[in-house]
Amino acid sequence: MAWTTPRTWVTGETPTAAQFNAHIRDNLNFLYGAPSCRAYHNAAQAIVTATETGLAFNSERFDNDTMHSTATNTDRITANTAGRYLLISNGQFAANATGYRQWDIAISVGPAYVGMEILPVVSAAAATVMNVATYYAAAVTNYFYTSVIQTSGGNLNVDSSGNYSPEFMAHWMGN
């Protein structure tokens, strides 16, 4: 359900049911159920060392604005409603003590990073879990994606671990 620019009511006019439904019912329903999406991947993804790699998300927890597909371009959360979005991406690299880990949120326009985290690693006993949050404006058809880099020297998995890895989410916050 799309937002309709609220009309200006005029003294003496007779409002119609159609006007009320569009400008009151539908607009309030839009705000009540603002576009929101959370996707995740249910299997480990191998990341080649020192190679920026986009993450796939083959499953969804919720998507009320057809922002994500579990079949095609599963890396993308697409803005079908223009506005400013809160974006969060969370995920875990398998345990490894070498190099650094980078977790990015990027937008298709540019392309450009809109959120990023870089961490050095020193412990081989613990996985590295990253959580990036950001806030960015998107036009219709712009899409966001998560890309990662690891410099362990070999392949390293982004683990699948419920309910935080990897997970990618977006919520419309306003226009």
Partner: protein, 201 residues
């Protein structure tokens, strides 16, 4: 004030003040100030844990939030009757945030570790009590001799049902034979905190 499902207006019907007050006034008020809550601790309050867990395991401490700074939907009014069967009745209710209005929530938390020399990794998890799974998690590696508190935070958007309970867990690992305990610092408003904000349905 709860959301009331929007009615469909009908041609030729008589519109009453009551309809307007519910459908226009009250629902706009709900969206203008949706459910939200934030909890933290007293300034200088510390929480600590003594563990005897091997360095290969991950130590945990469930974080207590002794101070509620905002709560518009009784999200911090919790008793043991709200706990799922997996949570012991004696567990302090101050550890939890409860959802009373269904919808998508932004959940965020931050904690501060008094990192010690034996600590190799520390982190945070926001968990849901019903299945004890993390809905947000972050870890950091200790790369140098710690001289100040290290702060770590995480956030998440989760589709919540009424009755969902959320809590925060501090996570850490130490080197073989090292100190197993951990202390968390408290600074009012900054850390630790757990917040929840209704974002939409």
């Amino acid at each position: 004030m709860a959301w009331v499902a929007q009615r469909t207006w009908v041609t030729a019907e008589t519109i009453t003040a009551s309809m307007f007050n519910v459908m226009v006034r009250d629902d706009q008020r709900f969206l203008y100030s949706p459910p939200h809550a934030r909890a933290g601790s007293d300034e200088g309050e510390t929480q600590n844990s003594t563990e005897t867990i091997a360095s290969t395991d991950l130590s945990i401490l469930e974080v207590d939030f002794s101070v509620t700074t905002e709560d518009t939907d009784n999200m911090r009014e919790i008793t043991s009757a709200d706990y799922p069967a997996s949570i012991p009745a004696a567990t302090p209710s101050s550890r939890f945030m409860k959802v009373n209005t269904a919808g998508k929530y932004l959940l965020a938390s931050s904690i501060a570790f008094q990192v010690h020399a034996d600590m190799t990794v520390f982190g945070i998890s926001i968990g849901r009590a019903s299945d004890a799974l993390s809905i947000a998690r972050k870890t950091r590696h200790v790369t140098a001799a710690p001289t100040v508190d290290e702060i770590v935070g995480a956030s998440s958007i989760w589709d919540c049902v009424v009755g969902d309970l959320f809590y925060v867990t501090a996570l850490w690992r130490q080197g073989a034979g090292g100190q197993t305990s951990a202390d968390l610092s408290g600074a009012t408003l900054a850390y630790p905190y757990l917040s929840a904000q209704w974002m939409g349905n």
